[in-house]
């Protein structure tokens, strides 16, 4: 039985691992293959800061809340394993900031220690009058993807550096099941008007004194259009750009300026370090 996964980002690799874990004992001669034209460190997953935090509202889609919980609990269970550091997994506490009171998120009981911010804490963030504090998890793609790749390789899963042009291409080669984890470019394999790019740009800085994530929200503009700061194990990620429908993978000088200025207003302590050159 040949199963082909298309895509080697976090979704492709973790799907492959789950499939192998669940089926290799059940299905005789299971052959699992991963096809991608793009591997770590060049996938979309590598660009993400890696903070576990779903969108604020699940819009009533309880299945997503369950998936979120399963993911968080799975990762939390690995926190004390010897592999945690290799996986790029660690706890991170931080702030979500709002300009007005908002309902609690669907994930409030999934994360640790969820609570509202006190007035004294809000003094740190002029312009924001309401917020949350909680402890969540970081899972850094540049560590997690290689870790997943190693686990898969150990299990005998094969990797193919190849752009798959159509599902049919794989079926005609004798593949029995295709798992489509091609992320942003899934539309090239099967048109999906609902799938749109949400372009993000970030700045990575060296700011090791930042020990909390800070995510601001502008309910009017929408998610991630408002500045955010996420400290990683090596660099701190500054962001705040989310452009629906924009396919450009080039750095925008205007976006760079927007991110830098808005994050420095949010966190004056950032003003000392110089950003790494874009790219």
């Amino acid at each position: 039985m040949r199963v082909a996964v298309i895509g080697a980002g976090v979704i492709g690799l973790s799907s492959a691992l789950c499939i192998h874990e669940q089926f290799h004992g059940l299905v005789s001669s299971l052959e699992l293959e991963i096809y991608a034209d793009c591997f770590t460190p060049h996938t979309t997953s590598d660009g993400a800061a890696g903070l576990w935090q779903p969108y604020l509202s699940d819009l009533g889609n309880l299945q997503e809340t369950l998936w979120n919980k399963e993911t968080f609990d799975y990762l939390l269970g690995h926190l004390h394993s010897p592999a945690a550091q290799e996986m790029g997994l660690f706890l991170l506490s931080g702030y979500n900031l709002f300009t007005e009171p908002v309902p609690d998120p669907s994930w409030k009981n999934i994360v640790l220690g969820f609570r509202n911010l006190t007035p004294k804490e809000l003094e740190l963030f002029p312009g924001y009058s309401y917020g949350w504090f909680n402890t969540a998890l970081m899972l850094e793609g540049r560590s997690y993807l290689p870790w997943l790749t190693n686990r898969l390789t150990q299990r005998g899963v094969k990797f193919f550096h190849k752009k798959v042009e159509s599902f049919q291409e794989l079926f005609s080669q004798g593949v029995d099941v295709v798992i489509n984890c091609s992320g942003m470019r899934s539309g090239e394999l099967q048109p999906d008007p609902e799938l749109q790019p949400g372009r993000g740009q970030i700045i990575k800085v060296l700011a090791p004194w930042v020990k909390h994530f800070i995510i601001t929200h502008d309910v009017k503009s929408g998610i991630y259009k408002s500045p955010y700061v996420i400290p990683g194990s090596e660099f701190t990620v500054l962001g705040g750009i989310y452009q629906h429908g924009n396919w450009s993978e080039e750095n925008s000088a205007q976006d760079h300026k927007t991110i830098w200025e808005s994050c420095c207003r949010l966190l004056p302590a950032l003003q000392i370090p110089r950003a790494l050159p874009p790219g």
Binding site: L79, A84, L92, G113, F133, M138, W209, P268
Partner: protein, 341 residues
């Protein structure tokens, strides 16, 4: 009296912050810092610099609380400014955990730190051998950066610093009008204070940048404090031990204890071992004294004996010491024309 000449002896966090408070309160004073050790060789440089107070049995609680609040407010403002990274001041969140519920569930400083609350059951699951815990956000003063930043501010305010071993406070009486004694553990020898005793602390400083939260065992012996350039792992509290040499068995013990709280520390790199002698006392000695020999008087302000809590109360005690210096100046000005100045 011409500009009063004040000598501050000691260049750890207490000496430097006291000198700064004096020059802020009395800009016309000429302030000089004298010490035989400067950063990175002071006791302060070994400390993690966490703002979690130590309770002094002999000092009224309301006073300790005021010192802590004053220090916290001062550092909070710096942490939220463009100077934060240079000064080494940053916020850090984490947990203080107890194997059994402590007698005092609410420490006196619980309303001075941010977001203090009991840990949830889910949070406690990370520490299976612990039954109770407190979560909060506090500040950390990284050394050497903080001491270097204080030195820079002193220099900008015209304060000179000299590397000099003072063997007897009286030796300063001809050069200075007032002496401020911030010699920490050095006061045992310098002023013969037998109530001052060392509590030896050995710590490890390791590279583990994925550790972003602090963890502290309520017994004060085991702690993990993430700083800017490294994580401080502790520790020991060895009363009356004067040894500054690292003990390898202790190193292994500290590392094992910390790894049992935070297993990922097994991957920590670049492990360095340091030892400091906490200048401990039942109460902080923060008072005036007048030394006199042959009709000549030398006013002294003592500000030492902060033990395990130096960083937590440094600004509060420095301001009080500066106020006492002000009293000394007033007393000198009010004294008879036959006096020294």
């Amino acid at each position: 009296m011409a500009a009063p000449k004040v000598a501050v002896v000691g260049a750890g966090v207490i000496g430097l912050s006291t000198a700064l408070c004096i020059v802020e309160a009395c800009p016309s004073c000429s302030v000089t810092v004298l010490s035989d050790q400067f950063s990175p060789n002071t006791t302060s440089d070994v400390a993690a610099g966490m703002l979690i107070p130590h309770t002094y049995p002999g000092t009224p609680i309301h006073m300790q609380k005021q010192w802590f609040k004053e220090t916290f407010t001062y550092l909070f403002a710096i942490s939220n400014s463009a100077e934060a990274s240079e000064a080494g001041i940053h916020l850090v969140s984490g947990w203080q955990i107890f194997r059994s519920t402590p007698k005092e569930e609410l420490p006196f400083w619980s309303d001075a730190v941010l977001g203090f609350r009991p840990m949830s059951e889910a949070e406690l699951q990370k520490f299976p051998q612990y039954r109770f815990g407190q979560a909060f956000t506090t500040l950390k003063c990284d050394c050497p950066p903080y001491l270097l930043w204080l030195e820079k501010r002193l220099k900008a305010a015209g304060v000179q610093t000299y590397n000099r071993k003072v063997s007897d406070l009286w030796e300063l009486h001809s050069e200075y009008d007032i002496v401020v004694n911030c010699t920490g553990i050095g006061a045992h020898q310098l002023v013969g204070d037998k109530k001052l005793f060392p509590v030896r602390g050995q710590v490890l400083k390791v590279y583990a940048p994925w550790v972003k939260n602090f963890i502290r065992d309520g017994d004060g012996l085991t702690y993990i404090y993430p700083g800017i350039h490294g994580v401080t792992l502790g520790g020991t509290r060895e009363k009356e031990s004067w040894s500054l040499s690292p003990n390898p068995d202790t190193t292994k013990d500290i590392f094992d204890r910390c790894c049992s709280l935070e297993p990922s520390l097994r991957e920590a790199q670049d492990i360095k071992v340091k030892v400091g002698l906490r200048p401990s006392r039942q109460s902080v000695r923060l008072q005036r004294e007048v030394l006199s020999q042959g009709g000549v008087k030398l006013p002294v302000v003592h500000n030492y004996g902060h033990g395990a809590g130096g960083f937590s109360v440094h600004r509060g005690t420095a301001k009080e010491a500066a106020r006492l210096v002000g009293e000394c100046i007033a007393a000198l000005r009010g004294s008879s024309p036959g006096a020294k100045l």
